[in-house]
């Protein structure tokens, strides 16, 4: 017996099975990301005064690179345009154009992930140094003449490890100072100066990793989960563009439906970023 409405729409609802399925799946995804966004908001509004935003560093303001985040937003918006144009090309019976638009979509997806990994790299090798006099500074550090690399988690430093290894001083390539709104203060000639700091003066040392501040915990969790969705979507759309495109000859109607369902997922992933970008980069 053939399963009904696998590609023909049910007359009373106007929906085929896969469309009902994808919307049920997207509903569960909305609950997942909604819970994470709620966690971020609740953690932030219930944080002690002076901790988030941080009085000494203005964290999280000024932490993330807004031009890079905006560029990534533009990349995802472009990919949404191309995925819908790919679907429209199939509707207009133009398979060659469909493939071109699909390839552009997948390239945009991998460009997004490449840029995001560049951002992650910078964060993992960045440190915050809180001094015993209440001051705090951020930047890349040098311990025993070496810059700790983000790829080696055993190479991450904290105060206990510095004491354990009998390190007296570290060098910090200090980031520009920021005001309470996160804007870099203007003081020509002092950006990225290298300061030597005695370990005995340091109260806390930690890289920009989830254990250092709740902001990083939520930031890495949501953006990594979103990145996994981008990767999954790119693989599926790439499959439709090449090996899965055989269906275009055997059952074009079902193939168009598959592209529509893939496009709906892709739009959802991009819509999550449209909410994520202002929440973690701008506010």
């Amino acid at each position: 017996m053939e399963i009904p409405y696998t590609y023909k729409a049910r007359p009373d609802t106007g929906l085929y099975n896969a469309k009902v399925g994808i919307w049920l799946f997207l509903a569960s995804e909305i609950m997942l990301f909604g819970a994470l966004f709620s966690a971020y908001i609740l953690l932030r509004v219930s944080a002690p005064v002076g901790f988030w935003p941080d009085l000494a560093l203005a964290w999280p303001r000024g932490l993330l690179n807004i031009p890079i985040g905006t560029f990534n937003t533009a990349v995802l918006i472009t990919s949404s345009v191309t995925v819908v144009l790919a679907w429209a090309s199939l509707k207009m019976n133009n398979f060659a154009r469909f493939r071109v638009y699909m390839v552009i979509t997948v390239v945009c997806a991998f460009a997004f992930l490449g840029i995001k990994s560049f951002e992650y790299n910078d964060k993992f090798s960045h440190y915050v140094v809180r001094l015993k006099d209440g001051k705090a500074l951020t930047g890349h550090i040098e311990v025993n003449g070496k810059h700790p690399g983000f790829w080696n988690f055993q190479d991450q430093w904290d105060v206990a490890k510095l004491a354990d290894q009998k390190v007296d001083k570290i060098k910090v390539e200090v980031d520009p100072e920021r005001d309470i709104h996160g804007h870099a203060k203007k003081h020509a000639g002092h950006d990225h100066e290298v300061r030597e700091i005695a370990v005995s003066d340091i109260q806390f040392l930690g890289s920009y990793t989830p254990s250092t501040h709740p902001f990083f915990a939520v930031y890495f969790l949501i953006t990594a989960l979103h990145g996994l969705h981008v990767l999954g979507g790119a693989l599926v759309l790439g499959y439709f563009a090449f090996p899965g495109a055989k269906m275009w000859k055997s059952n074009p109607e079902q193939f168009i439906n598959r592209i529509e369902v893939g496009g709906l997922f892709w739009h959802f992933v991009d819509l999550v970023w449209i909410f994520l970008f202002p929440v973690v980069y701008l506010l």
Partner: protein
């Protein structure tokens, strides 16, 4: 909801985001008087207009493809 309708929702959300970015950049410009923020605000405002023009073009171009 079809892909066409969801795309319109997505473009509308992108317009709101870019308008917010433009406003945020303009406020930052007022706080810092840094011209970078002013340029950023103008670029975001231009993208608001660009996205609205695209949305209109998209609706016209795909008038005969799928329902909203």
């Amino acid at each position: 909801m079809s892909l066409k309708a969801f795309h319109i929702v997505f473009v509308a959300a992108s317009v709101v985001l870019m308008a917010f970015l433009s406003g945020w950049s303009f406020l930052s410009y007022q706080e810092t008087r840094s011209s970078e923020y002013l340029v950023w605000s103008l670029c975001a405002a231009c993208s608001v207009v660009g996205l609205m023009v695209y949305g209109r073009f998209f609706l016209r171009k795909l008038r005969n493809i799928s329902f909203l």
